[in-house]
């Protein structure tokens, strides 16, 4: 089988130091996105375990696989989780979730946890959409804008380029900074046409790193126009898979003249983390009513 250059690393993680059996509350958030699915488990408001993997064609199955993988090796069972919130494109198709909340609200809440209460502007660069979100000090959304009409500025667009140029997707960001001089961005933001343009540039003799730099630059410019529409207020953070691509993040920072906050957690789990935090708040509300 040919190497799949677009394929990013799937993973799970657990906090060995936390004893979940002593926790007062256990909640989970599951983000079934168009490209990837994540599950985050919180015990008493702390991240206990999470997983991230590719979404399949079946949303309920993807959600089940995500939570199973997060639970793996923890000794915890699905029944031990007291409240589950679903988010992402597949949020309404998670049979074991008690509530569905949009990924916009969940990313804001998750970023508030990950980056601290000072974060005000969040750019979520997801698999097949891109969201510009502004929030308050509690992580509540005050303004948002979503582009899900075209794949420009999305993770899937980057995957297409990784495959086209036969460069592992994790290496694209660093490679894009190896150019001596920053090339002009590819003129087409549409992934299909940008791919054609990249092929033309390669035939003209452009090296791969220059083509990659050109695409990262176009992607950055595309999302900056979305951000400008909602307004960029410091502090600024990037969530989603592209948040790990230094080539795009660096160019967004340069265009905005704002430094993005350094993530302390994996940027890809922000949505599921936000969902888990909503689950915790809802659990407490339910307990106080009873």
């Amino acid at each position: 089988m040919d190497k799949q250059f677009w394929r990013w690393k799937e993973y799970n993680w657990k906090e060995e130091k936390l004893n979940w059996k002593e926790a007062r509350s256990i909640t989970a958030g599951i983000d079934v996105g168009s490209v990837s699915s994540q599950a985050v488990i919180l015990t008493a408001g702390k991240i206990f375990a999470y997983s991230s993997q590719r979404t399949g064609s079946d949303s309920p199955q993807s959600a089940q696989k995500a939570i199973n993988w997060a639970l793996e090796g923890t000794g915890m069972k699905l029944e031990d989780i007291q409240f589950i919130v679903g988010t992402g494109y597949g949020r309404v198709n998670i049979p074991f979730a008690q509530k569905a909340i949009t990924e916009i609200a969940c990313h804001a809440r998750g970023a508030n946890f990950m980056y601290g209460s000072s974060v005000r502007t969040i750019l979520d660069m997801g698999g097949q959409d891109c969201k510009a979100i502004r929030c308050d000090e509690r992580g509540k959304v005050v303004s948002f804008l979503m582009n899900d009409k075209c794949a420009a500025g999305t993770g899937r667009g980057m995957e297409v380029f990784a495959d086209l140029l036969t460069i592992p997707i994790e290496e694209i960001g660093d490679l894009s900074f190896t150019v001596e001089q920053e090339p002009p961005p590819v003129s087409c933001t549409c992934v299909v046409f940008a791919k054609s343009e990249a092929l033309r540039l390669l035939r003209q003799g452009w090296p791969k790193n220059k083509v990659v730099a050109s695409y990262c630059s176009a992607m950055a410019h595309r999302v900056v126009t979305l951000l400008e529409r909602v307004g960029v207020e410091k502090e600024f953070a990037i969530t989603g898979g592209i948040g790990k691509n230094r080539g795009v993040v660096g160019r967004i920072e340069k265009e905005l003249n704002v430094k993005a906050l350094t993530p302390t957690w994996d940027t890809q789990i922000a949505g599921a983390l936000g969902a888990a935090l909503f689950a915790q708040a809802l659990l407490e509300k339910t307990k106080s009513l009873n």
């Binding site: 948002f144 804008l145 529409r229 909602v230």
Partner: protein, 93 residues
């Protein structure tokens, strides 16, 4: 909350912005009836507020859905904007 529904493409920006802080104060919800293309609906948002929203099927084709209300010549105030008493609706184009 300023909720922006719509998209940007090669021909321009097509967003309807709903200020939900204003929208939530309205009880009449005349925008629903005023729009001939049925672009709006009432939803319960993530913060449990009943507010107007753009129907998801419509948000990717607003340029075309709203076109009948935006003739090149003799354009009047948009029916949705006119009907919205709290002045919560705004079009970007």
């Amino acid at each position: 909350m300023l909720a922006n529904y719509g998209y940007k493409d090669g021909s321009g920006d097509y967003y309807i912005t709903i200020d939900t802080d204003k929208c939530v104060t309205c009880s009449d919800r005349k925008c629903i009836q005023a729009c001939p293309q049925k672009v709006f609906e009432i939803i319960t948002d993530d913060y449990d507020q009943e507010v107007a929203s753009v129907v998801s099927d419509q948000s990717k084709k607003l340029k075309y859905s709203c076109a009948p209300c935006k003739p090149n010549v003799g354009r009047k105030e948009l029916p949705c904007v006119l009907a919205c008493e709290p002045k919560a609706i705004n079009h970007s184009w």
